[in-house]
């Protein structure tokens, strides 16, 4: 097992280099660089100053040399500074000589996105497992059909549209919830419990909207897994032993049915750091989706590469964790009985 783990981890290094190389080249295939954003298309801004900027950021050098420079920095875990005029560090905060701290871009955006996505995943999994089990137990009844219908509607409905409707309904006509942002004005004057409640209120809509579309996939997954299990011999055995139906469903069947979800959780780890551009724009949440989108439009290469690198590391780790988790949870996999 240990040898297997070490092998897996070592394999990640060439994979990472490959991923970063490909992303770096694809990124440079798009025409333009940071000097060609819309606000620099200004007759008062001279071409010489743009050229100066290009030289400063080594954008005039061949792509392969730029990649080498980037790799050299990244090996020292230095993600560099953004090309934008604020020059914020890409990853983590920096202190200047007089002690002023400039926070990193990812450092600022990641916690918000992570919080929303974790809450989202938690909600998706709890609700999906309930819905999936219910539809499996009541297979082909009106309960099953209406659950399926509901999750498909939730999946198909355009999130931004529903978001705007809900914002209007809960924020404008009823004033139950705030409309956008993460804090109310006057937030700094609230007690810390008040701040927490304020934050939760702001999160209700974004988290529900982002969870809705995820229900369909997982609940159907649970339903089908559950149906498979419920038709297996050991369940029949349990029934014939006279076990209570509740016990059969929730202890014997459910445990087996949710095993495959471990893989899904593992695979959704990289998704945790990604945010939806549309949802973040509508709810005015400064998360990772908007950060990535804006840096692509601006051709802010260090930020793009920073996010991609972290994303690929997390993907690889997620895959690894999923495999390990599966082995841990399922004795059959551990013992090599099934692959």
């Amino acid at each position: 097992m240990t040898a297997y783990l070490i092998k897996r981890i070592l394999w990640m290094i060439p994979m990472l280099i490959g991923i970063s190389l490909i992303s770096f080249f694809i990124m440079h295939l798009a025409p333009g660089d940071v000097t060609s954003n819309e606000s620099s298309f200004n007759p008062r801004a001279s071409e010489e100053s743009r050229q100066k900027l290009r030289e400063l950021y080594n954008l005039d050098k061949p792509v392969i040399i730029q990649y080498g420079l980037w790799l050299k920095r990244i090996i020292e875990l230095d993600f560099g500074n953004s090309f934008a005029s604020h020059q914020k560090p890409v990853l983590w905060e920096r202190k200047d000589k007089s002690g002023n701290i400039t926070k990193g871009l990812i450092q600022e955006s990641l916690p918000i996105t992570l919080m929303i996505n974790l809450l989202g995943i938690f909600i998706i999994f709890t609700i999906s497992i309930c819905l999936g089990t219910l539809s499996a137990v009541r297979q082909n009844t009106w309960v099953d059909r209406s659950i399926t219908l509901f999750v498909f509607i939730a999946f198909a409905i355009p999130g931004f549209w529903l978001a705007l409707l809900l914002m209007y309904w809960t924020g404008v006509s009823n004033q139950w919830l705030p409309i956008s942002g993460l804090h109310s004005p006057g937030f700094e004057n609230l007690s810390s419990f008040g701040q927490f409640i304020d934050l939760l209120k702001h999160l209700v809509l974004p988290v529900s909207i982002s969870s809705l579309s995820g229900l369909a996939g997982i609940s159907l997954y649970v339903r089908n897994g559950m149906l498979d299990i419920l038709h297996q011999d050991f369940i029949t055995t349990a029934r014939s032993k006279g076990l209570q139906e509740n016990k059969i469903v929730f202890i014997h069947a459910l445990k087996n049915a949710i095993l495959p979800l471990i893989t899904i959780i593992g695979l959704s780890i990289p998704g945790l750091i990604g945010g939806s551009v549309i949802a973040e724009s509508i709810f005015a949440i400064p998360g990772m989706g908007k950060l990535f989108y804006d840096s692509v439009l601006m051709r802010d290469f260090p930020v793009i590469m920073g996010i991609l690198t972290i994303g690929s590391v997390l993907t690889l780790i997620g895959n690894l964790l999923a495999d390990i988790g599966y082995a841990w949870a399922d004795p059959r996999v551990r013992k090599g009985l099934v692959k």
């Binding site: 100053s49 002023n100 804090h183």
Partner: protein
């Protein structure tokens, strides 16, 4: 396009949910109120400011916030004429090469330190320093000598008289020497924690969410009435609009659909929100690649100009909220030549001109010259209004037998792949209606290199000469004549078709008083320090 779609669906959805909001109490916002200082104003902006040092930042969000914190030597007043700011007066020498600014007495930075001519000199040195990453240095590098004979006097000398000089000093924010002297201006805490001299100072900045300014009691012109300016960053304009409807923000920029369709339909909004319109700072044009046939033929350009119905474009794209123009200057200002008129819509005349240029209609109604059809591609960037404009133009040109295709491209690719390489037929783009009339960088024939701004390839000896003279003439009346003449040539040559100058539309909650209606040429924001919020109308959730 996506935003438009989102917005349309949103409007229909609003209609679907019949709104059932009850008003608990009716406040009469139109009463007369006493002026008393205090209160907070919340506005919405779509992007976060990047850097509050304006010479380094390029984005509009940064300049909007920095403009409340910093002063320049002079500024534009509500009629867009020069007015004192830090300088109480300025004098131009007889040879027109030296300008002497006299600073007001007793100026102070927000930290209490005196603001003197050495700060001005420091700022000039900073922007002309080759290590400073500013795109705007070239105007200031023309100064050959800058002196401070005493703490209240700042004197600059140009090698040759330079007419846009005052405009450049009106846009340069003066920065504090005592703080920035030993800082790396490109990468300093100051860009997010500035020390300024104007009406407001930075209170706090929550990254990605909001920037709060509070009144600067040491402001050189006295503190403003409104004590707090909160700018919330809300990228989506539909969400901004919901926040405005729910009373959570006071000011936002709106689009023509909101102005013409949503507001007239909603009585409860009209009761509490006032709309303002003013001519915006830019115009949209259709530009020909003059280095390419058939656009090197003036008859073809003029014909296409006659064949485009500008009024239709303004009605269709801006819902009538724009003006057609005939020079690159704001209508109503001195630089605009009142004797010029846009090319009227006249397809017959267009056809006649095209016939003269050698194009004959075949039996299918397509214009041909030597067997080749008149056919080109309009490119534009992802901008809803420009896309719609291109579509309307396409239809009108099709009617006279010209085949037009449209391509919409993301901005950076647009500039690098097409504009810089000159690989395009026709563009739909915009320029700003600059306050100083100098347009040397856009129209002089020497400015056609890659990355320069005469990318259409316009060259006219008379225009070159006028642009050169106009740059050196500081006498305002003589200058006016020069640019009237320049506009005439430009209209005649028709290197671009002026399409429209759109209005900039704002919605402001009626609790905010002191805004000029109708807006003066400089726009409603020029006197935002005179705005006030009467005590009974203030929000109570924000403690002061």
């Amino acid at each position: 396009m996506k935003k438009f779609l989102i917005f349309t669906i949103f409007i229909y959805s609003l209609l679907l949910i019949s709104c059932s909001k009850k008003d608990s109490e009716v406040i009469d916002y139109n009463k007369k109120f006493m002026i008393n200082p205090g209160g907070s104003l919340i506005n919405a902006m779509t992007g976060e400011p990047s850097n509050l040092i304006a010479m380094i930042a390029g984005d509009s969000a940064s300049s909007a916030i920095a403009g409340n914190i910093f002063n320049s030597l002079i500024k534009y007043d509500e009629n867009l004429e020069y007015a004192p700011d830090l300088a109480e007066s300025w004098q131009i020498s007889n040879n027109q090469k030296t300008i002497t600014f006299k600073l007001k007495k007793g100026l102070k930075w927000q930290d209490g330190k005196p603001l003197t001519s050495s700060d001005v000199l420091f700022t000039w040195k900073l922007i002309t320093n080759p290590n400073t990453r500013t795109p705007y240095a070239s105007d200031y590098q023309l100064v050959i000598k800058a002196e401070t004979p005493n703490p209240l006097t700042f004197q600059i000398t140009y090698a040759d008289s330079y007419a846009p000089a005052l405009d450049t000093w009106a846009s340069l924010h003066i920065l504090p020497k005592h703080i920035l002297e030993n800082e790396d201006i490109n990468n300093t805490f100051f860009s997010r924690n500035p020390i300024g001299s104007s009406y407001y100072k930075l209170d706090n900045w929550i990254s990605g969410q909001q920037v709060t300014l509070k009144a600067n009691e040491k402001s050189i012109s006295g503190p403003p009435f409104i004590k707090k300016l909160i700018s919330r960053i809300i990228p989506d304009t539909s969400s901004q609009f919901l926040e405005l409807t729910a009373d959570n923000i006071d000011v936002m920029n709106i689009n023509p659909i909101q102005y013409q369709r949503v507001f007239p339909a909603k009585k409860d909004l009209q009761r509490k929100i006032e709309l303002y319109k003013e001519l915006g700072n830019g115009y949209t044009y259709l530009g020909f690649n003059l280095k390419k046939a058939p656009f090197n033929d003036i008859k073809v350009r003029q014909a296409l100009n006659y064949a485009i119905d500008k009024d239709e474009v303004i009605k269709g794209v801006l819902l009538g909220l724009g003006e057609s123009i005939s020079s690159p200057y704001k209508p109503g200002t001195r630089w605009n030549n009142p004797n010029l008129n846009p090319y009227p819509y006249n397809p017959k005349k267009a056809l006649k001109l095209l016939n003269k240029a050698g194009y004959i209609k075949n039996d299918k109604g397509i214009l041909l010259k030597n067997g080749k059809p008149l056919k080109f591609e309009i490119i534009t960037n992802q901008n809803k209004q420009r896309e719609m404009t291109a579509v309307l133009i396409q239809r009108r040109l099709q009617e006279i037998g010209v085949e037009v295709s449209i391509r919409v491209i993301e901005w950076a690719s647009f500039v690098n792949r097409f504009i810089k390489t000159g690989d395009f037929d026709v563009v739909v783009l915009g320029w700003s209606l600059s306050l100083d009339p100098d347009q040397y960088n856009i129209w002089h024939s020497s400015q056609q290199g890659p990355g320069q701004f005469n990318f259409l390839g316009y060259s006219n000896k008379n225009v070159d000469k006028l642009l050169e003279v106009g740059r050196k003439e500081l006498n305002i009346l003589k200058r006016e004549k020069i640019y009237h003449e320049f506009s005439k040539y430009l209209l005649e040559d028709s290197p671009i078709v002026y399409l429209y100058a759109g209005y900039s539309l704002s919605a402001v909650h009626k609790r905010v008083k002191g805004i000029k209606q109708p807006s003066p040429p400089a726009g409603i924001y020029h006197n935002n320090y005179d705005w006030f919020i009467p005590k009974p109308l203030r929000r109570n959730e924000i403690m002061e």
